[in-house]
């Protein structure tokens, strides 16, 4: 008796599962219909969503801010970017909000949740992902790519050309200067430093310095290693209160030459880590100033 009941139940479950399966087929097809017909072959995007501060900055630089309809809560430069519709953070985005804004181009970074990127693509939105910036030429390359995407190729080329010239001039100027040993600290607890795999390394090298953490593999670094390498300059990117605290910690080490000469600086994170070719050159000037005060040889 009981057995029969159970068998009946199992059969019922089977039927339920089958019903569910067919129900699910319905939206599956509609996704394809609605999705891919939304924007057939976009040539000149008119509704752009940016998922990275540097992308937002670049869009403003290229003069297409009117087409930018949404960005992240981290997009604060230029200040007008704050007024755009916010669709989430750099990493976690609100799918509904993006979709409802009906964009024809979403510019994502490698930090954007990969599942979200995939999902948007499935919904028929054109998603372009920019990888992590490795060096200055990478910055220029991505900027040019962005220019092509928003149909501002010539403007982009011009900006890149100018930035490259300026960078070359700076390098020429500092060529014969004394090369100080530099450390850029991008995180405290754990101690994270800028390695050679990250474009921040190019600030140091272009400005005529030596990055003591260039060869490091991962981000986390040991304090002992730093003391041993004895950098002449330490640059801390702001992490709120932590930056001041970190500065005090470094100042306690009397043997550290950066502490002895008082060359520990705090810089704004946004300025350093979300570059366009133009802002890179601007920040580079600051670095030259820090590494070679008064044009010191």
């Amino acid at each position: 008796m009981m057995r029969r009941n159970i068998i009946l139940l199992v059969v019922l479950f089977g039927i339920c599962a089958a019903a569910f399966y067919f129900l699910l087929k319905l939206p599956d097809n509609s996704a394809r219909e609605t999705g891919f017909s939304r924007h057939p072959m976009v040539r000149q995007p008119k509704r752009i969503i940016s998922l990275g501060p540097s992308i937002t900055k670049a869009l403003y630089l290229l003069g297409v801010q009117d087409k930018l309809i949404g960005d992240t809560i981290y997009c604060i430069d230029p200040p007008e970017a704050k007024n755009k519709e916010k669709i989430g953070t750099v990493v976690e985005v609100n799918m509904e909000k993006i979709f409802n804004l009906n964009p024809d181009l979403v510019l994502a970074t490698s930090l954007t949740n990969p599942k979200a990127r995939e999902k948007l693509k499935n919904l028929g939105v054109k998603v372009i992902t920019f990888s992590t910036l490795k060096d200055f030429s990478d910055i220029c390359k991505q900027f040019l790519e962005l220019g092509r995407l928003v149909d501002k190729e010539n403007e982009a080329k011009e900006i890149v050309r100018r930035a490259e010239n300026e960078a070359a001039l700076v390098r020429e100027k500092v060529k014969d200067f004394y090369k100080p040993k530099v450390l850029i600290q991008v995180g405290a607890r754990p101690l994270v430093v800028a390695t050679g795999r990250y474009f921040v390394n190019d600030y140091i090298e272009f400005a005529g310095g030596i990055n003591i953490a260039k060869e490091a593999r991962g981000g986390i670094y040991s304090r002992e290693q730093i003391l041993k390498a004895n950098p002449d300059v330490i640059i801390i990117t702001t992490m709120g209160m932590a930056a001041e605290e970190e500065k005090m910690i470094w100042q306690k080490y009397e043997t550290l030459s950066a502490a002895k000469s008082g060359r520990i600086y705090i810089m704004d994170t946004d300025e350093i880590t979300s570059p366009t070719p133009q802002s890179f050159v601007k920040t580079l000037e600051v670095f030259v100033h820090i590494l070679h005060p008064g044009g010191m040889k």
Binding site: I6, Y21, L24, G35, E96, S110, L111, P114
Partner: protein, 338 residues
Amino acid sequence: MRRKVFHWSVWILVLFCLLLATVLFSFCAGSVAMPLKKILKVIFEGRGTSEYSILFDIRLPRIILGFAIGGALSLAGVILQGMFRNPLVEPYTLGISGGAAVGVCLNIVLGLSRGLGIISLPVCGFLGAILVILFVYSLSIRKGILKIQGLLLTGVMISFISSSLIMLIMSISHTEDLHGIVFWVMGSLEEPNWLLIKLALGIAVFGLAVSYLFCFDLNAFSLGEEEALHLGINVERAKRLLFIVASLLTGFSVSVAGIIGFVGLVVPHFIRMFVGSDHRILLITSFLCGAIFLIFCDTLARIIIAPLELPVGVITGILGGSLFIYALSKKQVSLGGK
């Protein structure tokens, strides 16, 4: 007997209604507000509009996945708690989630997902889970007898080892990979692949059906293994099958949705307070209640600080934990088996 069946039917009916209400709530709520009236209009007339897409391509998959994962995790919780006669056991105790997490982390760090596409993440997670299941199982089986306590201890150790391994991987990986790992560990019901969602649903329902075949065995287990044997239960077969069902449910859930804590621990206890510890009703109601709970939590996570989204684990932990403590203080019931 008849009164019992009536009582149970009422519970199932109530939970079904709750499920329906939660699903409707989840459909309506979001950063793009859609009142009930509008939804009906969109469903019947709105094919091809962006509202239709939001409902059926963004909200519906999450609801279905929430149903499947919530149900599967609570079901695994009931099975394991019943089998081990231990109220603290949950699906993640046996190290299965740890194995899946290590699998996914290795995938991200080695860059497999870049070459093979994002689908390789759940695949690697599932492989990791299966490896752990096989390992734990083979260690605890002696002369055809599954040692329950050994199983539990090995599982706990495996989860410690794997969480250390994850930390190791995280500390030596590059920044861009780190984000992928953190995402995954936090757990989310966002899943772009329809096939995986359907599969999750299928496996959850299948798990419920199979475990229901063993509801009498589970009831007998609550008296102790020896007593169950004397009652004529094939104890070894039941233990083995139940373990495999519970681990597959967990392994699959974890590899699709990441680690969503608390559902598998709290829901079975919570339900036991209301319907009692007869597994004939406990299995079904736990499944339904887990599904309701997870869908509800996920909806909250979506809307609480919109347009930003909270990890769903935050809500399940806070809401589940406090609700449970409240219920516990109101109603003194013996928890778990014995």
